[in-house]
C-alpha cells in the first residue's frame, strides 16, 4: 500500500511538472511521436503487404509452368498441358491467360485475366475495385479498349469484384477468352502459362523436376518459392527503410539525450530543492522514470495510431512507392487493417528501449545533486 501511495505521489508530481513545462515537453513529444510514426508506418505497411501477398498466394495455384525463350518468359503452347498431365503426381493442368493492358486515357496499367469460368457474354467485363475509379470516361456506359491490331472494342462493365485481397483485385479486369485474345493478341493454341495441380505437397519438387526433364524450355515455379521470395523481399525492404530512417532515429536520440542533459537551470534548482527537503536519489530517479514513461507511452500511442491511420486509411501515401515497388502507374488500393503484438513489440524495442537507456545517465547526473547544495545557494 505504501509503495502504491509513493508511486501515486511521484506520478502526481511528474504530471504537474510535465504540465508546467508543457512547451518544452511538447517539442520532445512531437519529435518522439514523429519518429514512432515513421517507423510504425514502415512496419505496418510492409507487414500488411506481406500478408496480402500471402493471402493471394494461398488462393493461387501450387505450381505454375512458364515457357522461356531466350531466357525470357514466353507464351506456352497449350499442347504442353497434355504432356505434363501424363506425369505421375500432376493431377490437373490448366492453361491460363492473363496479361497487362495499358490504358492511354488514364495512363494506367491494368491486369487483364481470363478466369477459370467467366459467366458473362463476350462483350462484358468484370472489374476490380480500383478500375472504374481510375479508368476515366465511359462511352455510353462501356469501356473503350484498343485491341492489339489497332481496332476499337467497347465492353460493358457488369459487376465489380469486392471480395478477396484488394491488392490484387484493385487493378483487375476479368473477361472471356475470345475477348482476351482479341485485346492481347495471344494466338489460339497458346497461353500465358500453365497451372499445375499437385495433390501431395511432398511430391511437388519431384513433379517440378520431371517437368523440366520432359520439357526443357519450361520453368516450373512453386507457390512456396514465391511466398518465400515475397516474404524475404518485404522483410528486406522494411529493414532497409528502417536503416535509411536510422539517421532520423539517431538524430532523435541525440536530441533526447541533449534534452535530458541540458535541463534548464530552473529544473535543476527544483531537483536540488527536492533533494534538500528529503527526497532520496532513488526518489528523484523514480519520479524521472514516471516522467519518461508518460512521455514514451504518449508518444508511442500517438505515433502508432497515426502510423496506423496513415497506412490503412491514407494508403501510406508518404512512402508507398519506396515499399510497394510495383509499377508507379498502379491504381490506389487500401489494405485490410490489422495490427499485431509483434509489430508493436518491435516498434517498442526500436524506440522506447533506446530512449529509456539513453536518458538514464543524464537523469542520474541530475538526481545525485548534493542535498546540501540547496543551502549553499
Amino acid at each position: 500500500m505504501k509503495w502504491i501511495e509513493r508511486q501515486r505521489a511521484f506520478m502526481d508530481y511528474t504530471l504537474s511538472s510535465l504540465w508546467r513545462r508543457k512547451l518544452r515537453n511538447l517539442a520532445l513529444l512531437m519529435v518522439y511521436t514523429l519518429v514512432i510514426f515513421l517507423l510504425s508506418s514502415v512496419i505496418f505497411f510492409t507487414d500488411a503487404l506481406r500478408k496480402e501477398a500471402a493471402a493471394v498466394l494461398e488462393a493461387g495455384p501450387e505450381m505454375i509452368v512458364q515457357r522461356t525463350v531466350g531466357g525470357r518468359h514466353s507464351l506456352i503452347p497449350v499442347a504442353y498441358a497434355e504432356r505434363i498431365e501424363r506425369i505421375r503426381g500432376a493431377s490437373s493442368v490448366r492453361p491460363r491467360l492473363w496479361g497487362y493492358y495499358y490504358h492511354q486515357a488514364s495512363r494506367t496499367n491494368y491486369t487483364i485475366l481470363v478466369p477459370e469460368t467467366f459467366s458473362g457474354p463476350d462483350d462484358t467485363v468484370q472489374t476490380g475495385g480500383g478500375v472504374l475509379r481510375t479508368w476515366g470516361a465511359l462511352w455510353d456506359g462501356r469501356m473503350y479498349f484498343r485491341t492489339h491490331d489497332g481496332n476499337s472494342l467497347f465492353l460493358l462493365p457488369t459487376s465489380a469484384m469486392s471480395d478477396g485481397a484488394d491488392l490484387v483485385t484493385a487493378d483487375l479486369i476479368l473477361m472471356s477468352e475470345p475477348t482476351f485474345r482479341k485485346i492481347s493478341g495471344v494466338p489460339e493454341g497458346h497461353a500465358t502459362d500453365l497451372v499445375v495441380r499437385v495433390r501431395n505437397e511432398r511430391e511437388r519438387p519431384t513433379v517440378a523436376e520431371k517437368i523440366v526433364r520432359e520439357l526443357p524450355d519450361t520453368r516450373p515455379i512453386l507457390r512456396e518459392e514465391i511466398a518465400r521470395t515475397y516474404a524475404a523481399i518485404f522483410d528486406w525492404r522494411a529493414g532497409y527503410v528502417v536503416v535509411l530512417l536510422g539517421s532520423a532515429v539517431l538524430a532523435f536520440f541525440i536530441f533526447a539525450w541533449d534534452k535530458a542533459t541540458g535541463l534548464s537551470a530552473e529544473e535543476k534548482t527544483e531537483i536540488g530543492i527536492l533533494k534538500g527537503i528529503g527526497w532520496d536519489t532513488s526518489d528523484v530517479l523514480m519520479m524521472k522514470f514516471w516522467e519518461g514513461a508518460v512521455v514514451s507511452v504518449s508518444a508511442f500511442a500517438l505515433g502508432a495510431i497515426t502510423g496506423y491511420v496513415h497506412v490503412y486509411f491514407a494508403s501510406a501515401s508518404l512512402f508507398e512507392h519506396a515499399l510497394k515497388g510495383w509499377s508507379i502507374l498502379y491504381p490506389k488500393f487500401t489494405l485490410r487493417p490489422q495490427v499485431s503484438a509483434y509489430q508493436l513489440a518491435v516498434l517498442f524495442f526500436l524506440t522506447v528501449v533506446p530512449y529509456t537507456l539513453l536518458t538514464v545517465v543524464p537523469t542520474w547526473k541530475v538526481a545525485v545533486t548534493d542535498p546540501d547544495a540547496v543551502m549553499r545557494r
Binding site: 500500500m1 505504501k2 509503495w3 501511495e5 509513493r6 501515486r8 505521489a9 511521484f10 502526481d12 508530481y13 504537474s16 508546467r20 530552473e266 534548482t269 527544483e270 536540488g272 530543492i273 527536492l274 534538500g276 527537503i277 528529503g278 527526497w279 532520496d280 536519489t281 532513488s282 526518489d283 548534493d370 542535498p371 546540501d372 540547496v374 543551502m375 549553499r376 545557494r377
Partner: protein
Amino acid sequence: MIRLASITKTFNAGQPNEFQALKGIDLEVALDAVSVFAGPSGSGKTTLLSLLGCMSRPTSGRIWLEGREITSLPERFAVRIRRETFGFIFQNYNLVKGITVLENTMLPAYPTGVSHRSVRDRALSLLEGLGIASKAGQHVENLSGGEQQRVAIARALINDPAIIIADEPTAHLDSSLARRLLEIFGGFRREGKTILIACHDPLIIESPVVDRVVFMRDGRIVPHDH
C-alpha cells in the same frame, strides 16, 4: 542529544581550490532547546547545520544522533533519518515555483508513502495554524516574502520532525516579521521541538527564546563573538 567529535569538512579535496570549511569541531547540542550558531559568513555555520541535518557527510569525525552514529550512513539511509527527524527552513525559502502553496507544503511527504489525503489534511491544518490557509491554492511566486517563509515553515513541519533547522531565517525579513517568526519558534519550543538556527542577526541571538548560542569563526568554535 547530538554529539559531534572532531568533525572536519573539506571541499574540493586535492584540488587547487581546496577549502576546509570545518576544522575539528567537538560539540554537544541539547535537544528540546533552541540553539543558535552565530558567526560571520564563511565561518562554517551553514556547513555545520547541513552535517547536523544529515544532508552531507563529514570528511572525518563522527556524529551521534541520540546515541546512534549517523556519519557512516549512506545517502539512502541518511535521507530516511533526515525525513523523519529534521525539517528545513532555507535562507531563500527554496519553494518550487509554478505549483501551489499546498503542493509545496506536501512535497517532503511524497516519498514517505503516507496517504495523499492525510498529508493534505495535515498540510491544510499547518497552513491554517500559520495563518495562510487562504493562500493554499495560489502559486508561491505570487506571495510576499513573509508569506513564502511561512509556507517554507509549513513544509518543514509536514513530516512532524523533532528537530527544525533554519538557515538565516531572518535574512529577508523586517524587524516586525522577524519578531513574529521568533514567536512561531517559541511555539515550537513549547511543543517540545528542537530548533537549530544559523544566523548573525542580533535580534535572534539576543532573543529570550534562544537557549544557547554557539559562536563560530573560520570553521572553529570560538568562546565569544568578540
